[in-house]
Symmetry: C2
Subunit: 351 residues, 2 copies
């Protein structure tokens, strides 16, 4: 229809990684907001807090003392959702009451000894060290576990209970729902088109440009065509890479650079320490290391909750939980907004 | 394994309505919480607010004046995510850039003329009127639209921007993701077992009892075996019923009664106006009215966010968004807690 305008007319878009649809109703941004206003993220964080269990030299809940680390620091989560030795629940046999054993390990990884920095404010080499540690943990835990989930919950709004810069790594004896679905979708695409889904997608987006936020010779960040969160992004390598530990030293350097660029833009959007949950998806590991996984492409998802300002987020509630995800601005509008933001962080910008 | 204890040992449970798994790690309730604390739900709401667009006699954003209604009141959402006449986006043809037309209608339905009541505090006959109106709208919109989503976002924590008791009804030209998935799962179960999934499930739970919260001769409320939200419940008829408009007058009466019971327990749990998103799922409508939908069973889902107290909710964030949903107490623990709460609302209880 020639009169169709995605910014004015609601429509559905297909998410090929999850085999589902999102409702795009950009005209909804026009409604006034009288609902919940969040506390703005805290900006005054001390570099060192003697009571913070993540700081160097401090004692954690289990009595262990952190070393005086000066780069990254990894330890076992003191309240892990996954433990290595849980007994098997057995099964009720009835198809509606099925359970399975779940085993694994949960690690916490501090990015830096200081509590008052975040990835975009860290030095390039410090971010490279984070990437190297991600690769190391993926390789180490992936030797036996079928799935190693690296994820970062940033900001109190995203359930993060400690302001010290850190992420988590949960390895499990099972392939969780989301990677299982993504595996199915990528496999089907590869079978039908002879090329990995996300390799083809990166090529298309690099040409179309309208959803690109930042790019360099190895990496591309886009607001995906099917984004559900307002400023959701997808970080993709241009080369076909299965897992984070397959990245070359050069690719780790260009990854650190593009991450700093993206996260600086995120912070600049509302001039606030931007909350999000992010995580890596790569080919499954453990027993899957022996299989052909060429349908997989390494990528990271960023899911930030903010919609209108530093204090008004998007609520994924009634309609979204019970029927379908819905967004209030187009992915192209979000990409353009992020693309046009300054490359220098608002905190370090000269006045 | 004889040593298995679901309250101590993490395990996976299967959700047959979504063909997915949830990680149950009940031992996580032991960890201390130092993260975000929500504003407690507002308790002092005036019965009538001259600036509230949902109150009787007031003027809404589009200039329309509400009637002086004395029961339920339905009007078109002034900022609808779905409009009846959006043009067709056409398609890019490329499999990774697929879009579809989306048309529909969004209605708002006030439950009561007063802003300071909620369903559990309304009179029995007033709740019956809400149910009658739900049935009427389902029938009316379902005559042409394939899906009519009735849902309630209750509380600012669930993105509700108006304290007046109300719900929404969004009818769409497409079958959204969640009912499409549920349709697939219920159909497969019916084909394999010759009985509707949720009819069989209600029978099993009525016998097992350990997850039952409240029940009467027509209805059953359980914390489902596969619940993801801490105090999530599933409201089920005992009889095989496809749609809400198929309910008899007697069943509407017993539904009003059990809803009041459940919602009173919810409010009593933390002695606060309990936030949640809820909604109805029944057999698809419009063109699907002519098909055989005997695999479907009418039901309502309640998804409340609170976990530890009136101000500490469960965050479905990094691991949940990227890998798999995880819960911190067992469904049996949640059901027992709700079951044991008083039947009288804390606000009307004699001291
Ligand atoms: O329509 P409302 O109540 O203004 O908005 C609320 O419910 C909608 C449907 O679940 C969501 O899309 C919005 O994010 C939420 O704030
Ligand atoms: O492990 P944390 O940071 O204490 O907890 C946070 O992340 C977890 C994994 O996404 C979630 O299950 C929790 O709800 C959230 O508060």
């Amino acid at each position: 229809d020639p009169s169709f305008d995605p910014k004015e007319h609601q429509h559905l878009r297909y998410n090929p990684l999850r085999d589902s649809w999102v409702l795009v109703s950009a005209h909804r941004m026009k409604r006034p907001w009288a609902g919940q206003v969040e506390k703005p993220p805290e900006e005054q964080i001390p570099r060192y807090d003697p009571r913070n269990p993540l700081c160097p030299g401090n004692t954690r809940a289990n009595g262990e003392v952190n070393p005086s680390y000066d780069s990254t620091f990894v330890f076992e989560n003191d309240f892990p959702a996954l433990q290595p030795d849980a007994p098997d629940p057995g099964s009720d046999q009835h198809p509606l009451f099925q359970s399975k054993a779940a085993r694994g390990v949960c690690k916490v990884m501090c990015f830096h000894p200081w509590s008052d920095v975040t990835l975009p404010l860290m030095k390039h080499q410090e971010v490279v060290k984070v990437i190297d540690k991600w690769a190391e943990l993926s390789e180490e835990l992936g030797a036996t576990y079928p799935w190693v989930q690296i994820f970062e919950n940033k900001g109190a709004m995203m359930g993060c209970s400690n302001p010290h810069p850190h992420c988590q790594v949960w390895a499990s004896s099972f392939l969780p729902n989301e990677p299982a679905l993504s595996d199915r979708c990528q496999r089907a695409y590869f079978q039908n088109h002879g090329e990995p889904l996300l390799v083809q997608y990166a090529k298309q987006e690099a040409e179309k440009k309208e959803r690109v936020v930042v790019e360099n010779s190895d990496w591309l960040v886009v607001v995906p065509y099917w984004a559900t969160w307002p400023y959701q992004t997808l970080l993709l390598p241009r080369r076909h890479v299965l897992r984070i530990n397959d990245l070359t030293a050069e690719e780790r350097g260009s990854l650190a650079a593009i991450m700093k660029q993206l996260l600086t833009k995120y912070d600049n959007l509302f001039e606030v320490c931007f909350p999000y949950s992010m995580g890596w998806h790569g080919a499954p590991t453990g027993p899957h290391l022996k299989e052909d996984n060429s349908h997989w492409q390494l990528h990271a998802h960023y899911y930030p909750p903010l919609l209108r300002s530093a204090t008004v987020k998007k609520f994924m509630v009634g309609y979204e939980m019970l029927a379908q995800e819905q967004r209030d601005l187009t992915p192209e509008q979000a990409a353009q907004k992020l693309r046009n933001l300054p490359e220098e962080h608002y905190k370090t910008r000269a006045n």
